[in-house]
């Protein structure tokens, strides 16, 4: 597995302190982008939280997911959560080590007591003492939240004292970025009031020893609640590895409602879904991959868009126009960039796979944030894309009108287009029938059709570490 290492350096550990002036939750930051460029310790917020205990529990839930590996619960240090200041809200995001659960806590304007936030994205330090302090936080006496060193910076920032070095597998990066793109086609499928939400979430199995089952369950909206079922009935929402929703237990008592988002047509096969708990002034959303052992990284839903360079230049253009908007309006961007709305959307998908925008299902809109990792070209190194470029470069693709053949090893695969989707005679297609993105043969054919220059692609493939 291709992996690199991410080094995080914090000025000091994040901590919850109680003083004469009340409680202060100081979240330390490390590295990140702001409108003013890259900064070692950006500051995004300093103000009071409207519901301190809820926020504390939401943060714990995000930290839980960051530390989890549901298919194989060997503890392994992975990355700290990421925080984005969008001007009117703070978003805390994390991605599980198993690449199957994406968590985001959106602290909205009401949750921030109306205060404004800065703009940018950075890592926040989460450590054991902080987790303990958040766990023992009771009562709703005022809590001051500080994200970043703030004015203290001058006196104490004489060198970083907390250093974390964590492995950064490519598939984790890809999954993190892709998990949100996957939700862009989701619709609201069910909404449960608090009492039903609590009852339903409590009825789910808990992970045993941190491990989630491989069971794929389904739920169907039924009156004010969700009816569990064993089969994908029409309108059903997939719930694979239901134990993976365990992090939501943290905020059950504060829950106002539970909303479930899923793809419009489930087609009877396992799919991902987003589970959003509405909290006072904030929202906690968990997005689950279609299987406990299936990370988002392998879903390949965006590979077709990436197989050509059409959207790449548009993406460059659009990215220049972004300024950490909480909600990106494609129509407005289209106007400003001179592109069509469709091209702006395609560009946003592309930016999403590079971790440069996220998708908020509750708002049904992209938001600007730049993952503070070297994730820029990750998706270009997707194994299937690399293989497809290799096939193309080796001249393995023969186009023949509607159908095409791809020679790979001793075998020849037939690729055929039906209703816009490419079908193939390889094992990947037989196993997934296009539900996890196109196979390398289909990708190679797509590239050949669009006339992507094989030379440049091969050069890009050669850069792969």
């Amino acid at each position: 597995m291709t992996r690199s290492t991410q080094a995080l350096a914090y000025a000091r550990p994040s901590a919850l302190e109680s003083g004469a002036a009340g409680r202060l939750l100081g979240l330390e930051t490390s590295g990140g982008l702001t409108p003013a460029g890259a900064q070692p310790h950006p500051t995004f917020f300093s103000g009071f939280l409207s519901s301190p205990q809820t926020a504390a529990r939401g943060l714990l839930a995000v930290a839980d997911v960051a530390a989890a590996r549901y298919h194989d619960p060997t503890p392994r240090p992975l990355l700290d959560p990421v925080v984005t200041g969008n001007g009117d809200r703070l978003r805390f995001e994390s991605f599980s080590g198993c690449c199957g659960v994406y968590a985001r806590l959106d602290v909205l304007r009401e949750g921030l007591d109306g205060a404004e936030t800065g703009h940018g994205t950075t890592n926040v330090d989460v450590n054991n003492p902080l987790r303990e302090a958040l766990s023992r936080m009771t009562g709703d006496s005022p809590l001051h939240l500080r994200v970043g060193p703030g004015e203290l910076a001058v006196t104490t920032l004489d060198g970083s004292v907390v250093e974390k070095k964590v492995p950064l597998p490519q598939r984790w990066l890809r999954g993190f970025a892709e998990a949100q793109v996957a939700t862009a086609g989701f619709d609201l499928r069910a909404e449960l009031p608090a009492a039903e939400a609590v009852r339903f979430l409590r009825s789910l199995p808990r992970p045993s020893a941190g491990r989630a089952s491989r069971a794929v369950g389904w739920v169907v909206a039924s009156g004010r609640t969700l009816r569990p079922t064993t089969r994908p009935a029409p309108g059903a929402i997939c719930l694979p590895g239901p134990e993976r929703l365990a992090a939501l237990q943290r905020v059950l008592r504060q829950a106002i409602a539970l909303r479930v988002y899923g793809p419009v047509a489930t087609d009877g096969v396992a799919s991902s879904a987003a589970w959003e708990v509405v909290l006072p002034g904030m929202r906690l959303t968990l997005t689950l991959s279609p299987g406990t052992t299936r990370g988002f990284s392998g879903e390949g839903g965006v590979l077709e868009a990436l197989s050509t360079d059409e959207a790449a230049q548009d993406a460059e253009l659009v990215s220049v126009l972004l300024a950490w908007e909480p909600r990106i309006d494609p129509a407005e961007l289209a106007e400003r960039s001179g592109l069509t709305v469709a091209r702006v959307r395609a560009a946003l998908v592309r930016l999403g796979t590079a971790g440069r925008v996220g998708y908020d299902v509750a708002d049904a809109a992209y938001f600007h944030r730049e993952l503070p990792y070297d994730a820029d070209r990750t998706e270009r190194h997707n194994p299937r894309l690399v293989d497809a470029r290799g096939l193309l470069a080796a001249g393995a693709v023969t186009l023949d009108g509607e159908s095409a053949s791809v020679a790979s090893g001793p075998r020849v695969y037939r690729v055929r287009e039906v209703g816009g989707q490419l079908r193939c005679t390889c094992t990947w297609w037989a196993d997934h029938q296009g539900r996890r993105g196109p196979c390398k043969h289909a990708l190679a054919v797509r590239m050949a059709r669009r006339g992507t220059a094989a030379e440049t692609s091969a050069a890009a493939g050669g850069e792969n570490r």
Partner: protein, 943 residues
Amino acid sequence: MKELLEAVREGRADKVPALLGPLTPAERKELLVELRALRAELRREEGPWGHWRQRGLAATGVLVAGAGCHTGAAAAAAWIGSRDLRISRPPGSPAVLRPLLEVLDGKDPGWLGDVAHRLAARASAEDDFPLIEELVRRAGCPAPATEGYVSGWLDARSPRSGGARLLREDPHTPALLPLAFDLAVLPNTFGWFPDEKTPGHWPSVLAGLAEAGVVERSTLVDGCVSRLLRGGRPSETGFFLNVLRRLAPTPEEERARIPDWAGMAADGGPQVAAHAQSALGRLAESGLLPVRALAEVTGAVLFRTEKKLVRTQLTLLAKVLRERAGDGETVAGLLPSVAEAFGHPDTGVQERALKLVARHLPAAGEELREDLAASAALLSPAHRSAAVAVFGALLPEEETAAHEEILPPPPVRERLPAPPASVAELVEEVLVLMGSPEEAGAYEWVLDGLVRLAHREREPLEAALKEAIPHQEWYEHRFENFRHVHLSSHQITVEVVVATLLGQVSDHALRTVLKRMGSAVDCPHDGLREITTARTWEAARLIRGRPVPFLLATPTWSTGALDAETLVERLRKYRRLEVEPAPVDFAQALLRVARGPAGSGDGTAARAAALGTPEGDRLAAWLSGGAPALTALSPKPGSEAGSGSESGSGSRTSTGTGTGTGTGTDGGNGGAEAAVGGAPEQRQAAWLSENPLTIARRMAHGMRERLAPLTQFPPAFRWLGRPLEDQKCDRWSCGMWESHWATVLPHDREGLALWMTHSLRTSGDWTRGTAGCLTALAESEAPEGPAGPELHRALAAGTGAKRASDRLAAVDAMLTLAARGQLDHAELGRELAHAVRHGSLKPNRLADALGTAAATGAYGTVWAVLAGALPPLLRVEPLPRALGEILAVASECAERCAPDGGPLPGLAELAGRGGSSQSAAQAARLLKVLEHGAGTPTKDRSK
């Protein structure tokens, strides 16, 4: 140097130090180059290095020699820590450690310390502990604080091997021991000796260290508390709880950690929460816990579902409130948190909370009363009258929304997709089918597609399959010896046909297999498999010998049903093309067409007869009441039938002869059906009351029926015509449900249910997914009106399945049947009660399944089932264990749907027993609901 390399190659690491000693720094540098080359050679695993043992020995030599050559600490640590040089033995094992320390002898202590700390930072630190420890000792530096090193250190100090003494004497203990509380994974040895009296009991050892003053007591207490607060696996939190109990924190220590206990009581696992709760309880009783903190903890604890925790908390509050009864501030602070329990899922808890609030309400102010009354709206209707008595007019009006029964939408059967248009389309689907567990609909489509295209485009199809299917040798082997290989259900797939097209199946095989079919059927599951297998092999033989344009039996619908009109049309085409129908194909086609009752020859039957072919005549007869009886589909007299008769024989008789058992015996003779299907005593009664002539006529008819399948159907089907000896086979493969089975007999779900009941009762032990048959059968073709008794019996069996997912399938099936209007609630209730009485259904599983069904909004349906099940259940002595849970579900349903109907016999007696048992309490609750009266209208809504 040559000698040294020779020794390394031979795997003699022990010789290395002596040979390395005299080398100069320059020579060592040169040697390192050679060693790197050797290391690369080892990595290639070629020649003698192909064997791991040989390679491992040489790698050790390379490791030792290289460690002595490196001059930089970083390079040395990387070399010693590298994974490829520790193939069989880590540097910590004695055989490596000794020579390794020897070559490092005489190095600068600072350098050694550097190497030690670098090794400790690697993932292999735990394995390398003995080496690092020795290096640290030689260097005289502080011990590394990495997780791996601490784990290794703790392992080496395991109390079993005298570790208690070692720990006391180790100068590193004060620094390293506190780090144990931060380990992500605890050493295994922590849990080895759970008995406090054994010397290996870690908690005692740790407490001993605190007593001896080796480590600060507060460090240990803080460590435990932090760890418990952070949560984790029960085994880990259990260990730290034991340490904490052994340390026995003093009241001052407990008082100093109130927020910690509060956090644990709110979020910890049950054990941790109970411990924290008891600590807080002690503080509260001695007045050391502020009212505000107690109120916050109470709110969090009462939100939990563990009844024990909730009750303990309510008891504590009762005590505190009693002691400070006059203190208005305490009452005002605590009562709102007590009211949190009004919304608790357990009505017993609600009752206790209500009583507690009622007792102290007089001391509450006006505003507080109003708030409490508002919370009281969350109380179950069972406590409504009590709440009215407490709050009077303050209580909000009861919501009187009419109950809406929510059931899933009735299933819609789907048409099978049109046959493949091109070879490419078919080949893709063949590949999909071969790569996945076979699903009946896809199988039918592909089989028909292969037959069609083999007839129409033989050569392109063969070429495309040859290109697309890898490993052809595999087929050769498999199908030459096909009879030696057990053809389990998954393997009978279209692969046979594909292999035939690829020329991999011998003519001999194709000739002989079909002949042998049906001879060895001894259970219905075998029989069902045999039919599909025969069909597949027949298709293969047709393709080889006389290709037909299409198959007759391909279903019209996803349920497996074939429209009679479609079959007539297919037969007509066959006649026109002068194709002779293949026997197995036609027999299967008939089974997929709904049989008509006697004399019901409608237009379709007439059109079939008009074809003038033997098959047309058989179809006409099939449609108009002349279908042969399929005896195997009926229960064997006296075996299973009437299992529920003790509880409700009266109504059983009525359903037994009604449309319900219309399984295979729709042959038009209701009397014959009763003779086969009824309970033994009923059967006898029927014999006695009829006149001899009728009996003789029926016997003759029975003989004809039994003979009919033998003469008209191919061998693979003949088992259907004889009563089956063994319907409860215990073979592993028969305990599973296969989706093909529903499509073999799409109109005979009663028979299929009969054959699955035993599998359902034993499911979950070594089978999974058996209950899938229930959903399939609930959605299958069925006449109007309630389903038959066998399906209800199977449903009852599925409700008691071991696995929750199987029980969920039973719930699905129950709700589907209810939505289709095919559920006989009373019948299911009786079957459930019967199964509980006979021990084949665990009451707690029944409560779980019915609770799940009710919670989806089907309260009325579940109530109707329970109304049938409860009277016999209440008569069981001794009372079933989980009766209370079942009654709780019943009460919940009754509260929601306000059923009409009289009192349940036996309920008042149970409720009258009083006492604190759950069943008596819930019986009283149910009684109250039923007496309180029905009247709220119930609307039906299918959603």
